[in-house]
Amino acid sequence: MDFASIFARFSAIALSSLLCAALSVGCGRDVSVPTANTSSNSRVEQSQTKPPPRSKSSDESQASPEHSVPSTRVLFTEVQEVMSFHHVFDRGARGALLEVETLGGGCGWIDYDLDGRLDILCNQGGDATSEDRATQPADGLFRNLDGRFQRVDTAARLDDRAFSQAIAVADFDNDGFPDVHISNVFTNTLWKNCGDGTFVEIAAIAGVADSRWSTTSAWSDIDLDGDLDLYVCNYLVYDPTHPTSCFDDQGRVVLCNPSKLEPWPDACYINQGDGTFIEKSRELGLVGDGSRALSVAVADFNNDHWPDIYVANDTNDNFLFINLGDGHFEESAKLYGCATDHLGMPQASMGLAINDFDRNGFLDIYATHYTKESNTLYENYGHGFQDVTGRMGLHQPTLAYLGFGTVMQDFDQNGELELFVANGHVATAPHQSEPRMKPQLFSYTGFKQWRDISSDSGPTFQESRLSRGVATADFDRDGDLDLLVLNLDDRAWLLRNDSERGAWLTLSFVGWESNRQGIGVRAEVTAGDRTYVQEVCGGTSFAAANQPLLAFGLGEFRSELSIRVLWPQGEEQTLTGVLPGQHLIVRQSASSPNSAP
């Protein structure tokens, strides 16, 4: 099939999907009705979901809008069994101790068939030394049949067998159907959603078929031209079919220290708007010393309305590429105070969680690290970051853990955020087995302290695994965020959020001038004297694709809310009189100015 015919096919699908999306809330989603006063020409639709399980009467809450923290409790329940979801990442450990066995894959949420129910996509490994990739297992696509999941990757023709590492989901061609980028140890793939329940692989045609060892990738409109660009983290120069060997002092084979292997620089593919991309990392200034990137988050960290890029590097300083707004970025992590820990020492960073835990309107960063290094919390105070890990009680609890995927969300919706961290060591020598580790959950008290609440949040937190990717979504559509956790050589966890929780509001977005899924949209929800700021970030966590959804916990606040939505290209929408306890789909006005801020 030539490019022109593929493009024509895409265009047709795009048109049909746009019509579908415009007519109803996402092809089969609950009928939506306007419930809020809005300024600008945007449309807001409400998707009513079941109320929170424990709440005061509406009269009570209306009468008391103060922000007392309700007595909530975070609780996750494993439902992979009852939901018939079964996926085991085979990391291919055959005794050779390959570097690629250590990272393993990610997972993600995707409503690929636009039926309103989120489906699951999980990476798969296999034998990394096999020359015949066709004999290796494929990534798993699991369709949500509202009560159970069914594996459908064969039917969907999503057939990636290249020892996968990470998933990034987004509608890069704005046709309404989410597409998939898969980072691989071998050549990366780009799966175009055909809109008919199938995918087609177009990485080579699109210009993103990179054969370097890639890890987390992120979709984001970094040049604010309305379509999504792709940032791909690249890791080490390493060929598992001809592996580099490393030895300890006694001459025994050990896992190579990543710092001893050459790094690959990252890639940034700029969407040309015609289904193709051009790699422009160097031209844009997205180059730093060292690299060895494992995760990336694209968000506006300095509130100048331009998306910046934060990169978590293994053993090297992390990068913060500040978007100068003129088509260039400047690596400024050291200057901004988020390259290293508070002592100035680089850490082995793995995953990233982004949110505004201190509610100062600036997005903070939480990075997971190797054992003996604590995970690090960088508080963003507007014109820079400060490592506040120790003084906020987060140093000691993570010292003995090796963290990967992480998310910072308000799971119990009490108005304060929690941190979920997936842990699991890596094997460093053939004679050693890698310690499995329990996941951890921390809760922000609101008073400059976090506390470990793992032991009280469900039996999963007593189970040790080699966990890697973590992705959030409200897959059961009850207004809170659930978790998907990929484990190496063990069944993935599907963790339903059964928390006793406070009032809530969830927002998703449909862009018109901006990208279709609203990646990069920032929303400020004002509840009385409190304002919560969140952004639909590109990337984050580790190797995972979150549902592009903003979930706000409002505690006891059950009065009217006001919402300010800032679209990536500068359009603002204000919604007032919004009541908590609903999911709103905010649609961008078709007549919004197509101008950069």
């Binding site: 300890d248 050990v254 896992l255 220290n257 990543p258 710092s259 053993t315 050291k334 200057l335 901004y336 105070g337 290293t340 508070h342 002592l343 100035g344 020492m345 680089p346 850490q347 082995a348 190797y370 054992t371 003996k372 290094e373 105070y381 014109h383 820079g384 400060q386 890990t389 120790g390 003084r391 906020m392 009680g393 987060l394 140093h395 000691q396 010292l399 003995a400 853990y401 090796l402 060591h425 460093t428 020598a429 050693q432 310690p435 499995r436 580790m437 329990k438 040790s464």
Partner: protein, 424 residues
């Protein structure tokens, strides 16, 4: 009675006797016994002096002869490789000539040849100050390595430097031992002294720069060994804690010491037991402060800072910890002042620079922090360079050049120029 008669017999002075001799025979008769006594006593005294003198001369001649003989015998024994005789003879020789270098070195050589290294060191320790510096080097090396007596080696180095202030080998050895023993204030003190005394080498500046934080990779093992030999020793006990904490906290990517139950790496009990036992120890207090700071335990840091002594307050690290403590409470001006004080005392403390840059960024904005941050960045880069090197000699000329630049950037022009002399 006797006294009276003596007085009666007391001879007159020589003058009157001479003047009266022709005038009165009775007077002569009266004075003769006194004069005789005088002459007798004088003669006896002179004789005794003569005898003693002759004796002494004879003895000296005899000792000299013995020494000559012993030296000759010793040389003969050496030539015959008869080490027991060499030692025996040299020991006899040393008794006769304790301030001479040679018998001690001969005895030491003999002991060494017989494999008695302790004996060798014992003899070398008897060396007079006039001994050549190489003999002291040999002694300190022996004490440090073969005899596992780092504290004795340390004393030898100190003694050597009192005698030869410009001896760079002893200076380096002293700094090495103190680094191993985590006696950080002593390392920087010696580095500065050596530079002032002209005993500096390139590595002296490396010690100066790394004094507050470097830990050698074999430090823990070596100190454990020393501690086993001398378990009650305060210095070894403190160093053991320092090494243990460092080992557990260090971020070696290939380290495989953790377990799934995440046992806490808390040496709290051991640390505080030692603090109770050695409350005067600045190093111990610094270790505890560092530990609590890492863990973000603000109250504990405050408590440790409350115990103030002159030594403590004159240590730049105290002010760095104080800066952190104040910053944790968002007392920005006070924290700024504390970090500035830390940098006055120890201008190349990149940790203080880094923290201070963070405060400047927070209270004044990014631009205000740029210079301080750039300074900190260079210091941190150099730290990683030095940590990554096998030893100080393995650090490249270019990196020493960067160190000189950094020292200059920190306002330490003398140190910077001093280092540059070694880079030409």
């Amino acid at each position: 009675m006797k006294r009276t008669s003596t007085q009666q017999k007391k001879p007159p002075s020589r003058g009157p006797i001479a003047s009266d001799s022709s005038s009165s025979s009775s007077a002569i008769a009266q004075r003769s016994p006194s004069r005789r006594s005088f002459w007798i006593i004088t003669s006896l005294g002179s004789f005794l002096i003569l005898v003693v003198g002759i004796g002494l001369l004879a003895n000296r001649w005899s000792v000299g002869s013995q020494i000559v003989e012993l030296r000759r015998s010793c040389d003969q024994a050496v030539r015959a490789s008869d080490w027991p005789s060499v030692e025996r003879i040299a020991r006899q020789w040393a008794v006769l000539e304790p301030n001479s270098v040679r018998p001690w070195t001969m005895a030491a050589s003999a002991s060494r040849a017989m494999g008695d290294l302790k004996g060798c060191a014992d003899y070398l320790a008897q060396l007079p100050d006039a001994a050549p510096v190489e003999a002291f080097h040999e002694l300190s090396l022996l004490q440090m390595e073969a005899l596992v007596q780092p504290l004795a080696a340390r004393q030898t180095c100190e003694r050597t430097l009192r005698i030869y202030p410009g001896d760079n080998e002893s200076s380096l050895r002293l700094m090495f031992i103190d680094t191993m023993l985590c006696q950080r204030d002593k390392v920087s003190g010696e580095a500065k002294r050596a530079i002032r005394a002209g005993a500096d080498l390139r590595a002296t500046y490396a010690y100066l720069f790394t004094a507050n934080w470097i830990t050698f990779s074999n430090g823990a093992k070596l100190n454990r060994f020393w501690l086993e030999k001398d378990p009650q020793n305060e210095v070894f006990q403190i160093a053991a804690v320092a090494h243990e904490i460092h080992d557990r906290d260090s971020s070696t990517p290939n380290a495989e010491t953790t377990n799934a139950d995440a046992s806490s790496f808390n040496q709290h009990t051991q640390l505080y037991e030692l603090l109770e036992r050695y409350p005067h120890s600045i190093e111990l207090r610094m270790i505890a402060l560092s530990k609590h700071l890492q863990a973000g335990q603000v109250a504990e840091v405050g408590e440790l800072l409350d115990v103030q002594s002159e030594d403590f307050l004159s240590d730049g690290r105290y002010w760095r910890f104080r800066g952190w403590y104040l910053a944790a409470q968002e007392q920005w001006p006070e924290a700024t002042a504390a970090y500035q004080r830390a940098l006055e005392i120890y201008p190349f403390d990149f940790s203080s620079q880094n923290e201070l840059a963070g405060i400047l960024r927070r209270i004044q904005g990014i631009e205000a922090s740029q210079d301080m941050q750039a300074k900190a960045n260079l210091g941190i880069e150099l730290q990683l360079t030095f940590l990554g090197a096998a030893n100080f000699e393995a650090v490249s000329q270019a990196d020493y050049q960067r160190l000189a630049d950094y020292l200059e950037l920190c306002g330490e022009t003398d140190f910077s120029n001093g280092l540059r002399k070694h880079l030409r």
